[in-house]
Structures are given as structure tokens and as C-alpha cells.
Symmetry: C2
Subunit: 359 residues, 2 copies
């Protein structure tokens, strides 16, 4: 019997993944040249469907890398010559921050304890900061920053470049891309696809910054420098042979999502998150780990437990339901439940029933 995954990535595959991969095998997508018209049409299709889904304007390009982790590096290399700023409240936002130091940037941070969010009204950005790095959804702790708060911070600092990690929330957040210079995600989370592809949405201002850094002699990367990626993008090509199959599948799944409608996907995400949090609040041993409801993620829901978390996870696994363990040192005391569009209503129902009985 197949397992049902509620893991925060790799995750449950989108229901149409299997027919699409069978079509790809039949159409020999794995053999086509990445310089062919056929590949360019695949890239263009993915681009069009993602634009429609996430309301991405013509000012922004959609680029592909090996992973979202790689985009941390590329965004920092291309968007900051000296100083970056980070909001850190968990393992992934911390790693993004550390990358800046490894790259020799002066990395400023405001840190919140694991499980807590930020009051963005209080944030004062140092003057020298060129790039503001935000994590919309901290996958390790299940803390989100609201889209409205991110927009508001950018309105206060319109001249600084903003890059938003939406790795474990896309396609849920409804960003106004006139206020988000760059955002990125990987496909093995909310898009329900096998891992191995990062998606980098980035605007012309960011490109100009990269070009000016390069002109000043700053190292901005080789094949995956922003100018090189962008130049290839103009003809729907990539600098290196990309994960063609992954791009094909992403375009197909984004199209299926558009068919369902992003409004419906967002409504469903919110409705399911609400039901799961309600269950956790009334549960004898589980409780939402994020105390402030405003900062609770809609897509990665973390619960603390007074019982053994591994025992709860094992209990669900016996019912073929796979959820995530607590991150790092929270392995024994927390569970993580992904709420991604790939799961069906029936699967969510089974999860709720099984969680109810976990005690």
C-alpha cells in the first residue's frame, strides 16, 4: 500500500506527477537536446505557467539552478558586494546568514528564538545593507512572516534589494512582485515533484546590481552568475545542461495548479491549516509549537508534544502516514506536518483522524 507523505520536503508527489512522468518517458524528454526548440518550448511553458500561478510580472525572470540552497549562494554573490541583512529564527534562515559570511560579506542579523517570529515594524536596517534576506517560512520551526509585513518592510526601504526564501511555502504566499525583487523555491515541497531543481525569480534591478558588482571586480559566479543565467533565459536556454525532466514536470504541475486555480489552492491551504491547528489546540498531548497565531505557518505546521515524538511518528507510519520529525535538537519533542497542495482532501481527513488517536 502506498504511503501518504506529509513531510516538509521531499514530500507527497502531486497527484498528476505519475501520468506526467509516463508521458515524459513516452515522449523521450530525457533524450532531447537542451539547445533544441523542443527544450525552449518546455522552458517557456514552465515560465508562462509559473507567471500565471504566482502573478510574476515581466520585470522578473524565472531561472533554474540545481537547488534552492544554491540560490542562497547565487543571490548573495549577485545581490551584495559588501553587506547583507538577515532575519534568523531557525536552521534554514541561519544557514542563509552563514553563507553570507562564508562569501566574505558583512552579514547583519536580527535573531529570534526558535519558534518565534519577528515584529518587522521594529526592524531598522543598517545603511550599508545592499541585500535584505528574508525567509518567508522557516521550515525547521514552522514560523512564517506575513506577506503584508514583508511588503511593508520593503515599502520602508525601497532602495534595498529584497530576496525572499519561499522554499517551503510556494505557491501559497501571494506576493506583490513589485515589492519583492527576488524570491526562490525548490520543487520538492509545495510543487510535489522529485528534488533536483531550484527556481529563482529575480528582477532587472537585481540583474543591474550583479552587473555593477562584476564591473567593480567582485566575483559573482561563473555559469550561474545572474548575468549569464539571464542572457540564456532570454532565449529560454540555460548556461549548463539543466534538469530538463524536472523543468518539464514543473510546467505540467503548474498548469494543473492553474486549472484548479491559485485562489482555490490558497483557500484550501488555509482551511486545512486551520483544521490541523484546531485539532492540535484541543489535543491531549500535542500543541502548536508556535505560540503566536500570527506567525504560525500555513504550510509547515509544527507541534510540540509531551509524549515521545518518535513514538507518534511511528504510530502514524503504521497507518502508512509519514510526517516529519522535529528539526535537529527538537527530534524528541516536536513533529512537523507539511500542508502542501499535493495532498488530497481524503488524505488530510485520514491524517486528522490518525492524529486525533495519537496519544
Amino acid at each position: 500500500m502506498p504511503k501518504v507523505f506529509f513531510t516538509p520536503g521531499p514530500a507527497q508527489l502531486y497527484p498528476t506527477f505519475e501520468p506526467h512522468v509516463l508521458t515524459a518517458v513516452r515522449e523521450q524528454i530525457g533524450s532531447i537536446s537542451h539547445r533544441s526548440k523542443q527544450f525552449k518550448a518546455i522552458y517557456q511553458h514552465a515560465d508562462e505557467q509559473l507567471r500565471l500561478l504566482l502573478h510574476i510580472p515581466a520585470t522578473h525572470a524565472i531561472l533554474f539552478t540545481g537547488s534552492a540552497t544554491e540560490i542562497w549562494e547565487r543571490a548573495l554573490q549577485n545581490g551584495s558586494g559588501r553587506e547583507s541583512f538577515h532575519l534568523v529564527n531557525g536552521s534554514f534562515s541561519k544557514r542563509f546568514y552563514e553563507f553570507a559570511s562564508e562569501l566574505g560579506r558583512t552579514a547583519h542579523k536580527v535573531e529570534a528564538p526558535f519558534g518565534s517570529g519577528f515584529n518587522l515594524d521594529d526592524i531598522i536596517l543598517p545603511e550599508g545593507v545592499e541585500l535584505v534576506c528574508l525567509t518567508h517560512n522557516e521550515t525547521s520551526s514552522g514560523v512564517s512572516t506575513t506577506v503584508a509585513d514583508i511588503h511593508q518592510l520593503k515599502r520602508r526601504y525601497p532602495d534595498k534589494l529584497f530576496v525572499v526564501d519561499m522554499v517551503s511555502s510556494a505557491p501559497y504566499p501571494d506576493f506583490d512582485f513589485s515589492l519583492v525583487d527576488s524570491a526562490f523555491f525548490s520543487v520538492q515541497k509545495g510543487f510535489g515533484l522529485p528534488a533536483g531543481l531550484g527556481v529563482w525569480i529575480v528582477n532587472e534591478r537585481f540583474l543591474h546590481k550583479a552587473e555593477s558588482l562584476k564591473a567593480q571586480g567582485t566575483y559573482i559566479g561563473t555559469h550561474h552568475s545572474l548575468p549569464t543565467l539571464w542572457k540564456n533565459y532570454k532565449s529560454f536556454e540555460t548556461p549548463a545542461t539543466p534538469n530538463v525532466l524536472g523543468i518539464y514536470l514543473l510546467g505540467r504541475v503548474a498548469q494543473d495548479m492553474n486549472q484548479k486555480g491559485i485562489t482555490e489552492i490558497r483557500r484550501e491551504t488555509e482551511n486545512r491549516a486551520e483544521r490541523i491547528y484546531k485539532l492540535l489546540e484541543d489535543h491531549p498531548v500535542l500543541k502548536p509549537a508556535v505560540t503566536n497565531p500570527k506567525h504560525r505557518s500555513h504550510t509547515v505546521l509544527v507541534a510540540s508534544t509531551t509524549d515521545s515524538a518518535p513514538a507518534i511518528i511511528e504510530g502514524l507510519k503504521a497507518k502508512n502516514i509519514v510526517i516529519g520529525s522535529g528539526y535537529g535538537t527538537y527530534k524528541e519533542t516536536q513533529i512537523r506536518i507539511a500542508n502542501f497542495p499535493a495532498n488530497t482532501e481524503e488524505q488530510v481527513g485520514s491524517l486528522l483522524t490518525a492524529l486525533q488517536k495519537s496519544s
Copy 2:
């Protein structure tokens, strides 16, 4: 009717690709955590099968990146602080050389005209060179350097690190890895798999060089610096979520190749190359583009034509046989034929018959 690909990558998929991908779908490989025991077993299996296939000793790790192009960047970052050396005789070896300059290294080169190889006995390496970058098989021109010549150059310069691009020749060349510090390839060529995975074979000496560069303050990368990749490798993990499906398929296909036997694969590759070159030599309009038989590639065979190359390619396409076009400015006058293990004897027979009639 399915097409048969003799393109130099992406290429014909290995005959067992389809059953393996169906197994992967059934076993939900796309959903498993990259921190799970199941993933570690997949990595370990690929590692063991590649070691067996290519005779890779315990001194070398096997690491995964997004592409072989990325390995150009990572190898240069981690293997040279100041000076690298390159043999350049085509578009890919040239790009490898250019990466070194983009990374701020002093890049030395010896250049041969497109279609020519090197006499490695004549090569004198400048004293300051830390990393020697060789392209075993130049995919653009179909020129190879013999394995024996590469070994001999390393014997003359045992203290310098050698990295060999075997992108479009692996698994054919039989390297003695005690004389090759590092080698790399991507999976969409000789391994007959969909693109989106680079494979980096690299030894402890290379790791120590990277560590010493880092200690001196040289930037060697973030998640894909060699020390970070290596540290994760020790427990069969990766720093970022990798192309899990690609690694799974690579392990399976390497196992299938081991079942056939690498000796038989190499013998078959040589036999087929010989038959194709023989046909080209006797052909009314096609001729081997590489004049020196010693430098003719066994895996990417390039022919010059007095007729229109695009017309020949179209003629074969009408028979569902896809070959590669000449590279760059050679589009009108050359064709490229991949001779990779994925093609069956029957397919090679059809290619020979069709080529014979091309005039």
C-alpha cells in the same frame, strides 16, 4: 515510432531506464527524505556500483552536484588558489579555461586548433601551477587525449593536482585513479540518463588542498565547497537536497553496466567506433574530422562533409535516427555521432546503413 538518439548528450537513454523509473515511481523515491536511511542506501549503492565500474579506490570520494559545468567551477575553486593550467582545443575545454579567469585565477593554457589534439610529451607546466585541467574528450570537436598520455603527464608532475573532464567519455576511459586526483562527468551522456546530475570523483589530496586554501582565506564555495561535500559524503548524505531520483537511476544503470561488464562495454565501444570510422573513411561525402587517428574519440565521432550537414541530419531524422549537429560554426559542415553504451547493436546497425545511404 520512438526515435533513436546518437546525440552527444542528452542522449539515448539506457535500455533499462524505463523499468527503473517505473520502479522508482512505484517505490515513491520522489518523496523520501534525503536525510533518511533509505536515501543513504541509495547513495551508497550508486557509490559502490560506480567504484566497481570505474575502479575507483578508497582514496577517492564520489560526490554529486547539479551538473558537470558546476564541477568546473567547484574544482577550480577548491583545487587552485592562484594558478591553473589547461589544454584547450575546443569549446568545452575553452570554457573550463575561461572559468579559471572568471574565478580570478591565473590560467595558463596550451591551445591546439579545433579538431587537433596534443602531444603531451611536449607540455611543460609552469612551476606555479597548482591544478592541471584536462579534457579527456572534447565534445565539440571529437578529439580525445589517450589515457596513457594523461597518466604519463601526471607521472612527470606528481606534485600537481590533476582533474580530468570525462563528461562525454565516461565510463569508457580506463583511468588509473592513483594518477588522476579528480575526474568528473554528467549522467546524460555515456550513462544514458536524463540530465540534472554531475558526478565528481575526487581524492584526499584534493580535499587537503581545499582545506589549506580555506585556511588561507581563499573562497572555496559554500554548500558545494569540497570539505562540505566530503563531510556529508562520509555518511552518504549531501549538503543540499540532491536529485535523489537521478542518483537512484545512476546506481541502477551502473549496476546493469557491471552485470554486462566494463571490459565488454569498452570492447564494444571500440568495435563500434572502428566500424563507424571505417564507414566514414570509405564514404563519398563524409570523412572523419579528426585527421590523426590517435586523437579520434571513441565516444563522440565527428565527421566533416562536403554536402550540407543539416541535410544529412534531416535525412537521418526521417528514419527516426537523431545525430548531433556540428558544434557552433561547424553546424553546416560537420555532424557528430555519439557512441554511448545505451545504444543496442541493432540500432548501431541501422545507423551504419542509414549513414551509408547519406550522400
